[in-house]
């Protein structure tokens, strides 16, 4: 289904020039991955997204060696360079701020080096490796987290402020680093899907799909059309649930109690519908390499009716919210992400699309049933504030309902329940490297999967949350403390997918 990636090997300085040239020529920088090759070297792979494929450009760096920081030529690589420094111990030279991101280590602690065969022992985060709090003329730092108010994931924001506005913000995600990349390497291929579902639990389906696509790319496996439709239904309902979560958090930030309750109720109904379709409220246990494990557990008429009812109820509350001045006043002009920054950074998903960027891989590199059911593009909201991000989400939510309904209708042609041959194909995976992607509610999820001797040698997930979160640094121009919850909610990200 997806396209094989071209692989070139260059010495590091030439490699960096090459990556920069490709980005200047219009490719989107989609990620930087590293793999410990053996005791002596680390391979770096830059992922470049172009019209119909993702290309990997490789270079090799000696173990504990260095390479010229990619971020100097490609600013979007800022966090990627830092993450690689943490996990592999190679140094991106002249990196403007090489603070630990995923794993602050004490001097002398061995980095975990994903891809290498050894299993590192416990590594305790070393807080002193982190940059101290900023203090200066009238400036102070407000540390917020990792235990924050509300039921939220662990993350620490350092708000550097002279009083009320927020000229500078730092984000620390290392608290909940789980070492998932090394954990993948202990698993047989088919169980990789289960861990992928837990990389970013609120986007389980998208992660499972991106992982499965990478393996299917490697093995040149095509999934049955009906399985592609089942995958689509689960992926779109995941999008609906996530977008409703964002709407609920925005309403909560604006203290609209009824709207918060209504969106929370709709979200609960969507999660219940998902559990009725597959047993899991998060669509887990559906996707497998080569297809799906089960069809939809509800009769199609019943599923279609549920989709209709829920969408109609949401639309009523959506229109009411988007006509409530006290709500819109807080969203309009808040958390502005300028289109030029969104484009340079390659901002993903709704965050990118609200600023005129944000390729949708369901359209540009369609997979599964999206090859058959075209996604209508969302347009017209490109000012890039919190309000636009919410508008994009509403449009995507209705499109998700349309696609899911269409897929449910098409599935009836294959019979109910689906015969086994329509669910999945037998899988035989050769050794090698595959790239897979899926459009999560947060944006493009990318997986690099390398198989050796029939086992997972290296799995490198890249969530849209990881790529988009650094943009939070740039969207506070002119905004004040009380805008913080709106801006954070409007990004709709999950920390689990960032900290890995």
């Amino acid at each position: 289904m997806s396209t094989a990636a071209a692989r070139d090997l260059h010495p590091a300085p030439t490699w960096r020039e090459q990556v920069a040239r490709r980005v200047a020529a219009g490719d989107r920088f989609a990620g930087l991955f590293a793999t410990a090759e053996d005791d002596s070297s680390v391979r770096l792979s830059a992922a470049l997204a172009s019209a119909r494929t993702v290309t990997l450009l490789d270079t090799t760096v000696p173990d504990r060696g260095s390479y010229p920081a990619l971020t100097l030529l490609v600013p979007a690589a800022f966090w990627y360079d830092r993450a690689i420094h943490d996990l592999f111990g190679v140094v991106p030279e002249e990196h403007p701020r090489l603070d630990p991101l995923l794993l602050p280590l004490d001097e002398g602690d061995p980095p975990p080096r994903p891809g290498a065969p050894d299993r590192p022992g416990p590594l305790h985060p070393h807080e002193r490796a982190l940059q101290a709090h900023l203090a200066g003329d009238g400036m102070f730092t407000l540390p917020h987290g990792p235990v924050r108010s509300g039921v939220v994931e662990a993350v620490e924001f350092l708000i550097e402020t002279p009083g009320e506005d927020i000229p500078h913000l730092r984000v620390r995600v290392h608290h909940k680093h789980r070492g998932l990349e090394k954990r993948f390497e202990e698993l047989p291929i088919e169980r990789g899907v289960l861990l992928a579902e837990r990389v970013e639990g609120i986007a389980s389906v998208a992660h499972a799909l991106a992982f499965a696509h990478a393996v299917e790319d490697l093995g040149d496996i095509g999934v049955p059309p009906a399985a592609g439709l089942v995958r689509l239904v689960h992926a779109e309902l995941e999008r609906v649930a996530n977008h409703l979560d964002v709407a609920m958090r925005l309403a909560d930030a604006a203290a609209l109690a009824v709207a918060t309750a209504r969106f929370g109720w709709h979200k609960e109904r969507v999660l219940r519908l998902r559990s009725e379709l597959c047993g899991s409220r998060y669509g887990r246990g559906v996707v497998t390499v080569g297809g799906v494990l089960a069809g939809l557990a509800l009769p199609s008429a019943q599923a279609a009716a549920a989709l209709d009812t829920i969408e109609r109820d949401i639309a009523g509350d959506e229109h009411a919210a988007m006509a409530t001045p006290s709500f819109l006043d807080r969203l309009r002009g808040t958390g502005l992400l300028p289109p030029d920054i969104a484009a340079t950074h390659g901002a993903l998903g709704p965050v990118g699309r609200a600023s005129g960027a944000g390729e949708d891989v369901r359209t540009s590199r369609p997979y599964d049933a999206y090859q058959q059911l075209a996604v209508r593009p969302v347009d017209g909201h490109a000012a890039g504030d919190v309000q636009d991000r919410l508008r994009v989400r509403w449009a995507e939510l209705h499109e998700a309902f349309r696609l899911a309904r269409h897929a449910v209708a098409l599935l009836t042609e294959y019979g109910e329940p689906l015969p086994l041959t329509e669910l999945r194909v037998p899988v035989d995976v050769p050794d090698g490297r595959g790239v897979g992607w899926a459009e999560a509610p947060q944006g493009e999820v990318l997986y690099l999967v390398e198989v050796a001797d029939g086992r997972l040698r290296r799995v490198a997930p890249r969530s849209a949350s990881f790529h988009n979160l650094p943009l939070l640094h740039t969207v506070f121009a002119g905004d004040i403390f009380t805008d913080f919850p709106f801006i954070e909610a409007s990004f709709g990200l999950s920390v689990a997918g960032v900290a890995l």
Partner: protein, 265 residues
């Protein structure tokens, strides 16, 4: 004004649980149960489980719900031995009770002691309880399920349960996640900041055993070694009804009754 009317249009959507069983909670597949007379022949059952939750000896098979991530692999491969159990009341105050089918009988006395001790501690916080949550390396879905308790379908305020920002005001600590080492200090400090008596509820299989993440260089494989946990709620993630049952169980407001396990004598 428009919102006032919108708030009324669908009537009461709130569950009656725990006064009455809730149809959704009762029908939810929140656990796997094991037949006492396994009907599958051929093949060892242990390797089918990705988290090592299954053990067998002499034809007697056990499954540890504290490790089970509900992937359903065992149900698919050995349908004569394993099956889905419906019902969301999966929480237990005893780690051993999560091992089915045997788990309990000979430990009855210890269980009673554990429960009596818990009951004594929670006597004073029955009807107005403040909850603090700490994420110690979850995948993010447990937070959604806990947060859901505030939506109108569960509305835990009706039960006198409130979420609080400050650990100083909290009586119940909900912990999630496989035990990220980067959260060890923050978790300990939060626990120490809470006034006694404190009840700790581990939410999710990850918090109980590390689940599929297990113990890595960055995680401790669950939180049971880091904290004195009173109640464990298995599930990956556990649905809101299971989380609610766990909290109520910790407060001594509902009895323990594991799905697929006969009630205690």
């Amino acid at each position: 004004m428009a919102w006032v009317l919108r708030g009324l249009r669908d009537g009461v959507v709130t569950t009656r649980y725990p006064q009455r069983p809730d149809p959704y909670g009762t029908a939810f597949r929140a656990a796997v149960e094991v037949s006492t007379s396994p009907a599958d022949t051929g093949g060892r059952v242990e390797p089918v489980c990705p988290t090592g939750a299954i053990a067998s000896s002499d034809g007697h098979v056990e499954l540890d719900r504290g490790r089970c991530i509900l992937c359903g692999a065992c149900v698919r491969v050995f349908p004569g031995t394993f099956s889905w159990a419906t019902g969301s009341e999966t929480a237990s105050a005893d780690r051993r009770a999560l091992v089915v089918p045997s788990g309990l009988p000979e430990t009855g006395e210890t269980v009673e002691r554990v429960r009596a001790d818990l009951a004594r501690r929670v006597r004073r916080l029955r009807r107005s309880v403040h909850v603090r949550h700490v994420d110690a390396g979850s995948d993010g879905s447990e937070e959604w399920e806990i947060q859901a308790l505030l939506n109108p379908t569960y509305d835990v305020h009706r039960l006198g349960i409130f979420f609080t920002a400050s650990p100083r005001h909290a009586d119940v600590l909900l912990v999630t996640g496989a035990g990220a080492r980067g959260m060890t200090g923050a978790l300990r400090r939060t626990r120490e900041a809470m006034p006694e008596p404190v009840v700790v509820v581990a939410v999710g299989t990850d918090a109980i055993s590390g689940g599929l993440v297990r113990s890595t260089y960055a995680t401790t494989g669950g939180l049971l070694d880091q904290l004195d946990v009173d109640v464990m709620v298995p599930g990956s993630p556990p649905p809101p009804f299971a989380v609610l049952h766990g909290i109520l169980l910790a407060l001594g407001r509902v009895p323990e009754r594991l799905p697929g396990v006969p009630a205690r004598p």
